[in-house]
Point group: C2
Chain length 224, copies 2
C-alpha cells in the first residue's frame, strides 16, 4: 500500500449571511410561515418529492415553492403546473442559495398567505450545507444509488439537517446499499436526526413524510 499524502486547502467563508438568515427567520415567524430548505445531490429526487408532497398534502396547507436552478426553469414549471405558487431563482454560476437570495424569493411571494414554503436548493451536497438560508427546518435527500458511504464523505450536510429522506428504496433489490450501516453513520454525526425511507416513484413512505410535515407546521404555528 502506497503512502497517502495529505494537503489542506482552505477558503474564506462569508459570515454576514448569518445576520441575513436571522432576518428571514424573524420575518417568517411573524407571518407564521414555515420555511423548509430541501437539499440533496443532483438527481436524488428533490423535485419528485415536492410533487409527491403537493399531492400528499391535498391542499391541507397553503404551500409555496422557491426553486433554485442554475439555468433552466424546468422544475418551477412542473410545480406551477399543479397550481402551486412557484418562484424560480436562476442562480447563474452559483452553487448554493444564501439568505439574501432566499429573501429575494420571499419578497416575490405574499408569504403572509402561506403556511409552508419549500426551498429546492441547488443540487449539491457541499456548499448548501455551509449557508444558512434562514429556513426553520433543513431536510436532505440521499438516494439509494448514491451509496451508504456518503455520510463519511459529506458529513456537514448530514450534520445540519433535521430530517433525512432515504429515497429510491425501490432500487434496494439491485443494490448493495446497507441501510443499517447508513443509519449508524448518520446518527454518529447527528443523533437527533429523523430518518425516513421513501420512494417518490412508488409512493412508499410518503405518508410518514406528510405526517411529519403537518406536525411540524402545526407546532411552528404555536411558537410565540
Amino acid at each position: 500500500m502506497e503512502e497517502i499524502r495529505l494537503i489542506e486547502v482552505k477558503e474564506e467563508i462569508l459570515s454576514d449571511n448569518i445576520k441575513q438568515a436571522e432576518e428571514v427567520r424573524e420575518r417568517l415567524r411573524k407571518t407564521k410561515t414555515m420555511l423548509l430548505n430541501l437539499m440533496s445531490s443532483p438527481g436524488s429526487g428533490k423535485t419528485s418529492l415536492i410533487l409527491q408532497t403537493i399531492e400528499g398534502l391535498g391542499g391541507d396547507l397553503r404551500l409555496g415553492v422557491i426553486e433554485a436552478d442554475i439555468e433552466s426553469t424546468v422544475d418551477a414549471e412542473k410545480v406551477a403546473a399543479r397550481g402551486i405558487r412557484a418562484i424560480q431563482l436562476r442562480t447563474g454560476g452559483f452553487c448554493h442559495l444564501d439568505a439574501a437570495m432566499v429573501t429575494q424569493g420571499i419578497d416575490a411571494m405574499d408569504v403572509s398567505e402561506l403556511d409552508l414554503v419549500i426551498i429546492e436548493n441547488v443540487g449539491n451536497l457541499v456548499c448548501p450545507a455551509e449557508f444558512d438560508t434562514g429556513a426553520y427546518k433543513n431536510v436532505m435527500i440521499l438516494s439509494v444509488p448514491e451509496g451508504d458511504d456518503k455520510p463519511l464523505k459529506y458529513p456537514l450536510m448530514f450534520s445540519v439537517c433535521d430530517l433525512l429522506l432515504v429515497n429510491k428504496i425501490d432500487y434496494l433489490s439491485l443494490s448493495d446499499f446497507d441501510m443499517a450501516a447508513l443509519r449508524k453513520r448518520v446518527l454518529a454525526l447527528n443523533p437527533r436526526i429523523i430518518i425516513l425511507e421513501v420512494s417518490c416513484k412508488t409512493g412508499a413512505g410518503i405518508e410518514s413524510w406528510i405526517d411529519w410535515l403537518k406536525a411540524e407546521v402545526a407546532a411552528f404555528k404555536h411558537l410565540k
Copy 2:
C-alpha cells in the same frame, strides 16, 4: 398554472485561475504526463471507476491519482491499497478543485515518472465545471439513477467534458431513464463529446473506456 417569477442572482468568478491552469498544462506537457479531471455528482461512481481503471490497465500505464475530498481519506486509501500513488487533497469547505490546488497535488508526486494522473474532483456537478484544473482531458460520469434530464439542469458540466461515461447501466431495468433522450440532450450542448455506457459494478463497457484512455495517452505522448 401559476405564473413563474424569475430572479437572477449572480456571483463574481475568479479569473487568475486560468493562468495557473496554463502553467500546469505546460509543465505536464514537458514531462509527458496526461492529466485527466474526473467529475460527477456524489455517488455516481468516480472512485469505483478509478478502481476499475487500475484493474483494466493492468500496469500498462504508470498511473497516479489525486483525490479531492472534503473531510475523509477513504477514497485515497482504497486507491493506495492497490499499489497506486495517491495524493489526498483535503479541501475543507471547498466545493471544487482549482489549478492552484492541483499544483499542490502535482508538487507532491514525481510526475516525470507517470504517464497518467487522474484527478478525482469533489462530487459536485456545479462548481468543478467552472474551474480549469489544468487537465488535458475532462471526463464526467452521469449515473442512470440521476436521471436523463441532468443536461438540462447542469449544462456547463456537459459542455466542458471530452467524454461522458453513463454509469450504473445495471440499473436500467428498474429505471425509466431514456438513453436516446439523454444522448440527444448531451449532444445538443456538446456535439463532439464521446458517450460510453458502463457499469463499474458488472464491468460492462469498461474495456471501451480503457481503450479510449490508452489511445489518448499514446496521442498525448506524440504532442510536440
